[in-house]
């Protein structure tokens, strides 16, 4: 599988996200009207210079979400702590967006991006990613889309370009099924793809790793929710070979327990 294929698949995802939007911002049916009108009724008048207006429409907000702060026990007897979270700061349509995911003291992915709203439910993200731990560090340029697909599926699709001709793509889908207003089942699917082998990091080209997690959380408050869950992860292709060569497992099933908190 080539980088070209990867690029194509990442772009397809991004484009289908855009296509969704053509459909939405949704013209309720649809005798599509006459020429759009101007929203400007000012006749050239501008705001005065009076002090004191305290409108919050351009205020900046910030959020820190630790979606997973957890302890995992796998079916091979291993234990580890994981974190997966994000933080953002900014105005409605432009934000600085940080993401971080990994195992404490081991493999870790950190991303920083400019998040820009392009459609009612979709943002583009342009930034960098850094992989640390588990072999030499790697830095990538990142371009992705992130948003809410129909049926409330939180979607992220990101394409990365690294040094030495490396490329990668990453897709993540997440859903929240409310069993009650407080008890929430959160399935999550992730997939990592790479354009070429990276043996020092034990990464093979093509589909490298896919994971499916199921977490059941109880919202003690909206912002504080302990959970338990199961996580399945599987390495594919050369990545699986690399793992086996090191005497590790290419399949993993974990029982997880942790906290979802945000501020």
């Amino acid at each position: 599988m080539s980088a070209r294929w990867l690029l194509a698949s990442a772009c397809t995802l991004a484009l289908s996200a855009h296509a969704q939007d053509a459909m939405q911002g949704m013209d309720m049916p649809s005798t599509r009207g006459s020429e759009p009108r101007s929203p400007d009724y000012s006749d050239g008048y501008r705001y005065g210079s009076m002090r004191g207006m305290g409108m919050s429409d351009e205020s900046a907000q910030g959020m820190l979400l630790l979606d997973q702060l957890e302890y995992a026990h796998d079916n091979h007897g291993g234990n580890a702590g994981f974190v997966d979270g994000e933080a953002w700061y900014g105005k409605d349509f432009d934000k600085l967006w940080l993401k971080f995911e990994g195992r404490f003291g081991d493999e870790f992915r950190t991303e920083a991006a400019w998040d820009h709203a392009i459609a009612p439910f979709w943002d583009t993200q342009l930034g960098i990613r850094h992989d640390s731990g588990s072999g030499p560090g790697r830095t990538w340029a990142a371009f992705g889309v992130q948003g809410l697909a129909p049926y409330g599926i939180e979607t992220e699709a990101t394409f990365y370009v690294g040094q030495d001709g490396r490329s990668a793509a990453r897709v993540q889908l997440e859903y929240e099924a409310l069993l009650t207003q407080r008890l929430i089942l959160q399935p999550k699917f992730e997939m990592d793809l790479y354009g070429k082998d990276d043996p020092p990091r034990r990464v093979g080209s093509g589909l490298s790793r896919a994971g499916f997690d199921l977490r059941l959380r109880y919202g003690i408050t909206r912002q504080f929710a302990p959970y338990i869950g199961l996580a399945w992860q599987r390495d594919y292709g050369r990545t699986a070979d690399f793992a086996r060569e090191r005497g590790e497992h290419a399949h993993d099933t974990q029982i997880v327990a942790g906290l979802r908190v945000w501020f």
């Binding site: 459909m23 939405q24 911002g25 949704m26 013209d27 309720m28 049916p29 649809s30 005798t31 599509r32 009207g33 006459s34 759009p36 009108r37 101007s38 929203p39 400007d40 009724y41 000012s42 006749d43 008048y45 501008r46 705001y47 005065g48 009076m50 002090r51 004191g52 207006m53 305290g54 409108m55 919050s56 429409d57 351009e58 205020s59 907000q61 959020m63 409605d92 349509f93 709203a117 392009i118 459609a119 009612p120 439910f121 979709w122 943002d123 809410l148 129909p150 049926y151 409330g152 099924a177 409310l178 069993l179 009650t180 207003q181 089942l185 919202g219 003690i220 408050t221 909206r222 504080f224």
Partner: protein
């Protein structure tokens, strides 16, 4: 709210605050009443008002409310039409404040909107408002600074007509409704930006889906949800902040506290309802008693007999009731999302109470709330909740004259606009979500008939169309897809008569308030039916009104839901 340390029930009902609170009304002179002093009424033409804070406890948690003369709500101000009133307002808060006289026709510099009419009242300063009172009826006043509408400097205005009351009543009470929260409103705003569903206690759940599936089949259940799911919207998204954060108050008293108004059986009682909430619609009724609406937004209307009315934020309705029996009646004002209620009692003697009805089922929006006149009447949105069967049954209801909406360029390719309605409904006779076919006679705008003919008989010379727009998921609100900061003022030519066309391109109700001039509400045939200062526009509805631009200056024009206004659903109008 988790960890609050009090039960949900006590949160909704609030604390009783030591027994019954009894008022004797505007006419029942201020004899001391058991339990609590009667409402403070200040009359005359000279007023000294002081904005400050006072400790309150409505929920079991001590908090501070912002007050006028130490009161929450502030004193009832009683003016006389034709008088020139002088109001010296001193700000004792550590931050800027202001008082806006809602619905009052006055010179622009007296309107009290910081940044538009004046720079606000700085901490420790006094601002003197002085203007001639040109109208009569029920109005209110409130701070127009930042999020202060939520925390409290507000109160009722009662203006006596110069030529005497047309319809005098034996008793006369102000019924001020509002939504109290212990939370900092700036925090509420921030939470809505981070998670717009934060306060929604009725998000759709999987068990409801399974329940529907068992009745309709999985395919059927999916089909019912298809539109909403495709749009990523929640048909129970009725308010941004509900009983999760709010305790609803009547004249500043919790449901448990039971504000009580006294009457003699057979006496005519005038109740002046004011929705002084920051972000809540109320559905008001008095079980067992007909109400006769005689005034809307301070303007007299031909009396309408009914069981229930919805009052949008900042609207006022005066009703006459005539309790014949020697018993107590509950004044019940449930929030539109049925997450709580304000409650009081009409009773012949203090200490009585009547049964408090249960909250109605949580309603869901109907197709017509999303698609306007294009909604197929037979395709109801059934499913969750008992009331939905009624909600959806819109067949046979006339959606009004078909009028094409003219969207603004700025509504397209705009991440702040999540829907547009091409064929809005234009009928005024829909009581709205949660009130349709509920078996009670419910007020609609189609019932309003002004007693006085509009003062300006001219046909409008032109139209200004504005669309109410937003993105519920991102919690972004605007007109024509442009927030206040991105927009330019709207110019009204001095002296002109123009028509404002509002089209609601969202699935929420928006109470739209024009300062300084009345909004002469038109029916779908373009005839002026009533004169209002705050016009509610239902989801996917088109509403028109005429304005005479006879008050020069700069004016605020905005959605009166506080968090929508602060998010940018606001325009400045320049009359020049």
């Amino acid at each position: 709210m988790g960890g609050a340390g009090i039960t949900r029930r006590s949160f909704v009902r609030g604390l009783a605050l030591g027994g019954a609170a009894v008022a004797l009304g505007l006419r029942g002179e201020s004899r001391a009443a058991p339990g609590r002093a009667p409402q403070t009424i200040l009359s005359g033409s000279e007023f000294d008002l002081e904005i400050g804070t006072a400790p309150v406890n409505f929920t079991g948690h001590p908090a501070f409310a912002q007050t006028v003369n130490g009161l929450f709500p502030g004193p009832v101000l009683r003016w006389r039409e034709g008088d020139t009133v002088t109001l010296r307002v001193t700000n004792r808060l550590p931050v800027q404040s202001s008082i806006h006289w809602h619905g009052i026709l006055l010179p622009a510099e007296m309107d009290g909107v910081p940044g538009i009419s004046f720079p606000g009242i700085a901490s420790g300063e006094t601002f003197t408002y002085r203007f001639r009172v040109k109208q009569s009826g029920t109005y209110w006043y409130h701070s127009h600074s930042h999020f202060q509408e939520q925390t409290g400097p507000f109160g009722a205005l009662v203006i006596d007509p110069a030529k005497g009351e047309r319809d005098p009543a034996g008793r006369d009470y102000v019924v001020m409704l509002n939504d109290w929260t212990d939370m900092d409103p700036a925090r509420i705003f921030a939470l809505l930006k981070k998670d717009s569903g934060y306060f929604n206690l009725h998000r759709p759940t999987l068990p409801e889906f399974l329940c529907d599936s068992s009745m309709l089949g999985v395919r059927g259940a999916l089909r019912e949800r298809a539109m909403w799911n495709a749009m990523r919207m929640n048909r129970r998204d009725l308010v941004d902040v509900g009983g999760f954060a709010y305790t609803y108050l009547m004249n500043g008293i919790t449901p448990a506290g039971n504000w009580t108004a006294l009457f003699e059986p057979g006496e005519r009682v005038r109740l002046r309802f004011i929705n002084g909430a920051a972000n809540s619609y109320f559905d008001v009724r008095i079980p067992g008693m007909k109400m006769s609406v005689i005034s809307a937004d301070g303007q007299e209307v031909h009396p309408v007999e009914l069981d229930e009315f919805r009052i949008g934020v900042a609207e006022t309705y005066d009703v006459i009731v005539q309790p014949e029996e020697d018993r107590a009646y509950t004044i019940f004002a449930q929030s539109i999302d049925r997450s709580g209620y304000a409650r009081g009692t009409l009773a012949p003697r203090a200490g009585m109470q009547a049964e408090v009805p249960p909250l109605d089922p949580v309603p869901a929006l109907a197709m017509t709330d999303m698609m306007g006149a294009m909604a197929d009447g037979d395709r109801a949105i059934p499913g969750q909740g008992v009331s939905d069967m009624h909600q959806g049954r819109m067949s046979g209801m006339d959606m009004g004259r078909m009028v094409q909406a003219h969207h603004a360029r700025s509504e397209y390719h705009n991440p702040g606009v999540d829907m547009r309605v091409d064929m809005p409904r234009t009928n005024l006779d829909d009581p709205g979500v949660g009130l349709r076919d509920n078996g009670r006679r419910v007020l609609t705008y189609a019932d309003l008939r002004a007693i006085e003919a509009p003062s300006d008989a001219r046909e409008p010379g032109r139209e200004v169309e504005l669309h109410l727009t937003g993105n519920m998921e991102r919690f972004v609100w605007s007109f024509d897809g442009m927030k206040f900061s991105d927009a330019t003022p709207i110019r009204f030519r001095y002296g002109e008569r123009l028509r404002i066309v509002l089209v609601n391109d969202t699935m929420m109700n928006h109470p739209i308030h024009l300062h300084g001039m009345f909004s002469d509400l038109e029916n779908e045939d373009g005839e002026v039916v009533a004169r209002k200062h705050t016009v509610n526009v239902q989801p996917a509805q088109r509403v028109t009104y005429r304005v005479t631009a006879d008050n020069a200056g700069r004016w605020a024009y905005h959605c009166h839901l506080l968090y929508h206004m602060e998010a940018g659903m606001f325009r400045e109008v320049v009359v020049a």
